[in-house]
Symmetry: C2
Subunit: 268 residues, 2 copies
């Protein structure tokens, strides 16, 4: 399995502190050493960095810690290969374009015998179940809404239906962002914490590093961090319920999905 | 206008020497300081790095020179903004996926009043004529061949026809690669040089740097460098004829296009 990290904020913020702890799990405090990647948006533009090395040993990861970029939407991933060999094209996040926006996707889980029919524009480059699922989501959205992006409500509902179809094949924790909103879906393990006034101090569980958010944030900052497992020991991380598809915008949850979608998916 | 740099080889090679001279044109020996970018393939995987800083001032460009990656297909670009503001999403190369491969594209030129009708999967993220043209090429290939990639001959013929349509709107020098082949089209200025046994010494025109390729290459290496203007002073750079669409594979030209396509395009 892999691990996921995401960030959604109301103003561009640095993910350096969270990434510091998260990246230790890529071979130091945990076993996810088969590649890593991070995508962050600057307005509409999306930077994507992927690597088939472990995040602990990667010079690129070191550079991100040293030169933090501020962003409102970040999706990061460390890989423990289950399907597809250790290779650059199998490293998450994956990126595609739809409706004049870049979309990035990262997956934690395992989909069994998952081989959807995919069209030319949304076919995987690598050999993972994850990229196949992402292509299925993008293709499904394009098929439902044609050439015009829908409202966020309609987008959430469509993603919920497509996610149900995929989740029937196995464990499908994922994060998906188009730079405007960030979707997070939980099959098994996913947690989030929202940092806003009054800010507290936080201590990473993966290394000896603490931060006092009072010293780094403004009163109106609102930042949500989402991760497979909580990254800090003294904050109130909220566990997603299995089946939830949450949509984050401006640092807060703005739409929740149903909690028990597996039965629904099977009933379809 | 902008400038283009490409490389196509029979075995993965480093573009460091050529990039050293090319990147000087991004604000030092020339005026192309509104962003830069480079895409290089490692097998099927594609690394894309873009920046809205000048290549002379960019820490990312410095890192590429210090940590050269070997690749069989590279497309690079330095930007002098004509359409679209200086912004990350307007920096070339652009990337899209089609038929299970990544495609990268960079453009030098200017297309007047160019606003093709584009579908959801191939709509631009930024505001350049260049990304619109790239989306039109990808959409046109998908429309012609559906979900299966065609032969390289058919691909070249289709690209020639689509290129003719676009080139009727203005200057359309471009490079396009899917990691297997590299296409280069000339409207006005484009040159290439093929380096193979017997290798020579080369001297960059943009800085005091020489290299003896005998010391770096094997007898069977075959490397073609393509650039808007010749990068070295003592090699036999071949000028493209206006209208030529060349397809490079394994370091050599394997298909040429017609030289006078503008008339043909207008006749259509």
């Amino acid at each position: 399995m892999c691990q996921l990290l995401g960030m959604n904020c109301n103003k561009p913020a640095s993910i350096s502190f969270s990434f510091e702890g998260f990246s230790r799990r890529g071979g130091q405090t945990d076993e996810h050493s088969d590649g890593w990647g991070i995508a962050f948006f600057e307005d509409r533009a999306c930077h994507l960095i992927v690597d088939d090395k472990s995040s602990v040993a990667s010079p690129l990861a070191e550079q991100i810690k040293r030169n933090p970029v501020k962003s409102c939407n970040v999706v990061a991933h460390i890989r423990k290969a289950t399907q597809g060999p250790v290779a650059l094209e199998n490293s998450h996040p994956f990126k595609r374009e739809l409706w004049g926006r870049s979309w990035v996707f990262a997956h934690n889980g395992h989909l069994k015998h998952y081989a959807p029919t995919l069209s030319g524009a949304f076919r995987p480059v690598g050999a993972t179940d994850s990229e196949r699922a992402f292509c299925f989501l993008m293709q499904g959205l394009h098929a439902r809404f044609g050439d015009q992006a829908p409202s966020l409500d309609a987008l959430h509902a469509a993603l919920q239906a497509l996610t149900n179809e995929i989740a029937a094949h196995g464990v499908f924790n994922f994060m998906l962002s188009n730079g405007e909103v960030l979707f997070a879906h939980c099959s098994t393990h996913l947690h989030y914490v929202t940092r806003q006034y009054p800010f507290t101090k936080a201590h990473l569980v993966d290394c000896e590093l603490s931060i006092d958010f009072n010293e780094h944030n403004h009163l109106d900052d609102c930042i949500t961090i989402i991760a497979t497992k909580p990254l800090t020991s003294n904050e109130n991380w909220v566990a997603f319920a299995p089946g939830e598809l949450k949509m984050f915008q401006n640092g807060v949850v703005c739409l929740d999905g149903p909690r028990q979608v597996r039965e629904f998916a099977v009933a379809c």
